[in-house]
Symmetry: C2
Subunit: 562 residues, 2 copies
């Protein structure tokens, strides 16, 4: 124990967590969570529009104060800890979660004239109200600026910055017109703590800008004004408020103001690192480096790799984003992911609620599924219950299961759902490798790796790699705390750079999951069959045009529901 600490702040969908970390060892001193108060578990919904999901930024302001205070309270009882030994703060958040703000950087949501106006709130990552705008942006980019799409998987998402701003412009012009600019939550919170919310002072992080707003140094920053104006003339005004430069987590957003230092009980003037997305700081907290695939495995997955900035790197088709320094300074950040993993298991347990006789819980199904051998069920499925993010980038794909007989059991289906998500994970890994990023290690973090050894073993057997598990259960907050240690710098007792921080502060658990050769042999055969289904239903390369069967069925569904 060095007796020197940083704090990571992790803003999730429903709550915010603070974590105090020893910068010398990565030892976690104390943590506390504050649940958002507004909306349903922090998410403001519209009963008339299932696409809408917003957040009240007042929860961010209240939350940061409450959870740091609570954490400091817990830490006070730890030997040797003292708040004045905190040398830096880092922040991760969900994203793309942009807020409309005024000329002072204050959220419009705080202005009385917009009280009760859902469009003045923060537009949460999972808000899909801009789905039509997303398609419009994708089409325009494909036509006018195809290189924009090449870095974000070939398709612009409804969850991202420009889709949301453009939708607001159309659906709520009074909000759009009043807003001076839009700021990602990941930028706004560090700015709040450091008194830099005013548009002149505000720094934007490369993580959000690059992955969600088509910012790239290759074309001098954000998309050019001509392109933005082609979508809507009024959108060009927003474009003009965006800076030319974006910053990585090696940079500080500023220093903690006296006012916030007093509110939080921390030393004033300590640096607050640039914010970044939770998954990316989870990668940092897992010790990401070249040759390592970090998988955050929860309701969905985020699969990350990094590649040195000075090495050649091709555009990799189907990846969510390839952005310089978005994950780790000095490296390209590459992000892939599966749209649903734990969510599929949860769907089966909660919505299908199988097994009547009390054998339908995750625990019971896992217990029964563990006794099955690979291949024994005769089932094979496609894990597309929430679409396919990587490598097909197609939200309209759906799940598939074949091999059912009159003897098929719930545990067999449960195991086959796990297997299908593992096959999906292998597709992502192989895509990285096909484009020259060799996967030498796989480190897992998130809820499932800790809770479900069966999922880890199946991943190992399907992917043919040892599954390691990150030591920390709070890798995102840990990554944020590491950013705090780096921006604090060596002189203050922090770290020179992220190489040092990773070395000192991250580790994997002793228990790892090595592939079983027999299981691997069976899964290799099943994976080849999975790939055939994957290509038949997911690509246009199927000569029998099965690729449109799923979508035609959904088209009929949508027509009938309309």
């Amino acid at each position: 124990m060095s007796g020197i600490y940083t704090i990571g702040l992790d803003f999730g969908t429903n709550s915010v967590r603070a974590l105090i970390v020893d910068v010398a060892t990565g030892g976690e001193i104390a943590t506390a969570v504050w649940d958002y108060r507004r909306g349903e578990a922090g998410v403001v919904l519209d009963p008339n529009d299932p696409h809408l999901a917003r957040q009240d930024p007042a929860d961010y302001v209240d939350g940061v104060q409450a959870c740091i205070r609570d954490t400091l309270g817990l830490a006070d009882t730890q030997k040797g800890f003292s708040p004045d030994r905190v040398i830096g703060v880092g922040v991760d958040t969900t994203g793309s979660t942009p807020l409309p703000v005024d000329e002072t950087g204050m959220p419009l949501a705080f202005r009385q004239e917009f009280e009760g106006d859902l469009n003045a709130l923060a537009w949460l990552w999972k808000d899909h109200t801009g789905h039509a705008e997303a398609e419009e942006i994708s089409e325009a980019a494909a036509r006018l600026r195809p290189h924009y799409l090449a870095k974000c998987g070939g398709k612009y998402s409804s969850e991202w910055f420009w889709s949301k701003a453009l939708h607001c412009l159309r659906a709520a012009p009074q909000v759009f017109d009043t807003a001076y600019t839009w700021v990602e939550m990941a930028d706004w919170i560090p700015a709040l703590l450091t008194g830099t919310t005013s548009p002149d002072a505000l720094k934007r992080c490369i993580c959000a800008a690059g992955h969600k707003a088509m910012f790239n140094p290759a074309w001098d920053g954000y998309p050019d004004e001509e392109f933005v104006a082609s979508l809507d003339e009024r959108l060009a005004r927003l474009r003009r408020t965006l800076p030319d430069r974006a910053y990585s987590i090696a940079d500080a957003a500023g220093s903690l103001t006296e006012e916030w230092a007093a509110k939080l009980g921390l030393p004033s003037g300590i640096p607050v690192a640039m914010g970044a997305f939770d998954a990316h700081l989870g990668g940092v907290g897992s010790g990401i480096r070249p040759g390592m695939l970090v998988k955050i495995v929860g309701t969905s997955t985020c699969d990350m790799m990094v590649s040195p900035l000075d090495a050649e790197l091709a555009d990799i088709p189907g990846l969510c984003g390839i952005v310089p320094e978005s994950i780790l300074p000095g490296y390209y950040g590459l992000e892939a992911g599966q749209s649903a993993v734990g969510d599929i298991y949860n769907w089966f347990v909660n919505s299908m609620a199988p097994g009547g006789q009390g054998r339908g819980s995750h625990e019971a199904l896992t217990d029964d599924a563990r006794r099955l051998k690979p291949g024994q069920s005769g089932l094979l499925g496609l894990d597309w219950h929430n679409g396919n993010r990587t490598v097909l980038v197609d939200q309209r794909l759906t799940g598939l299961l074949l091999g059912m007989t009159l003897h098929t059991t719930p545990a067999e289906i449960y195991r086959s759902l796990i297997e299908s998500t593992a096959f999906g994970a292998r597709v992502i890994m192989e895509r990285f490798e096909e484009y020259g990023l060799s996967v030498e290690r796989v480190v897992n973090c998130g809820g499932i790796p800790v809770k479900n050894p069966l999922v880890m073993q199946i991943l190992a057997d399907v992917m043919g790699r040892t599954m390691e598990v990150s030591r920390s259960e709070q890798t995102c907050a840990l990554g944020a705390a590491m950013a705090g240690a780096v921006v604090a710098g060596k002189a203050a007792g922090g770290h020179e750079n992220f190489d040092e921080a990773i070395e000192a502060m991250t580790a994997v658990r002793e228990q790892a999951y090595a592939p079983n050769p027999d299981a691997r042999a069976v899964y290799d055969r099943l994976y080849r069959l999975y790939r055939r289904l994957h290509d038949a239903f997911g690509t246009r390369e199927c000569r029998d045009n099965l690729h449109d069967v799923m979508k035609e069925v959904q088209k009929i569904r949508d027509e009938v529901r309309a």
Copy 2:
């Protein structure tokens, strides 16, 4: 009411039923069921061999007596009924259910030397111990006598006569060698009642001979001795015990013996019609005639049509059998079927046991599924959970479902399972029509048409035909009673022929299910997609060779399980 009656005997898998019917009206006077006593619910199983399913013929002997006595007891209380006004008896049974018998026609099972020998029992229709022999017979016929296969759907089944006898020859040579011949249960029971079990006197019915033993007048009866000897020299001895002629249900097996008349409490000397399979007499009991498709819809389906003997009739690929007079005298009988229908719904309710909250019963799921619109679920499936009998004739196919999302509910899946079985039913209907048998009416019988209006409505909407439902709930036994009335003849108060018997004794219910034009339009679109999945996974016409994906998965399964 004419005051003249016949009795139909319906030998099922677990029990035997007797039904007393008024020949003038088809009015059902009384019915009783006797459950078999031996084995598990009448089926003798071998814990070491899941393929084995046998029956003790002692149950047939005890059962016929008990259930006729019980039925007469119930009928005595009906106004006007008297046992001496019974003018004939008809019999239907399961099949192919052959028994090894000695020179007197007595089942070997009744000889002390074979006590406890499962191979000396009746080999129940669902006994699959001869699966290797079935493949051997199919291969030999394809090579040496391809025309044999053309009439039975292109493949000889393990459930059929020759597979069972050949397997016995190899697995239990002492039984095979002691047996003088093998007799179908459908032939043996009428012979028992009429004292004609001795091989010289025994008549064989065209129904069993034609559909299960490759008998056809086109090649002078049973398969020729040279072919049978090519399978095994010893099998030729069995072939030599089989007659040149087979009989339809318009023929009597003989007259009720005094001994049996006394046992049963019926007049001696009344005719007993030739037996036939339950499904076929169900067709008769539903009033089958040209232009009418009769569907027996239960755990599986049997789909039957008839076509005049003097009209041209092509071999129809994929049908289970095309046999002159097998269903109705004077007509070709054409049999198709789905390997599982109600069994699929039962699998979902009993094995998957979905919906935890008490919404998982057939009643609750039907209730929820009824509220859904066609196409609304976005689900589409293949109903091959027990293979595909017609038109693909492939037991190794399995179920498939696509379109699942994180919001898919048990009721949506339940409805999609019903829809998939309806699409399967439409494939069969279209196959009949493609080969010139126009389907003008569809009459349904069996358990599901009476119990589940939703299934009937979906069948109507998918098939584009009004679904009529047979009046009788016991159409098989009714058909048997009609055969009793025809063999009794006009002079005795019965009927001249089946045209007359059908006219007098059968009817459909008032409630029929007409296609809803809106639903039909949606289902037409979904059916086209179903056909694409059907052809991709079920035929070799798929250019992407998806046809082998299901089978490869099952191959892996079988290897892993072995």
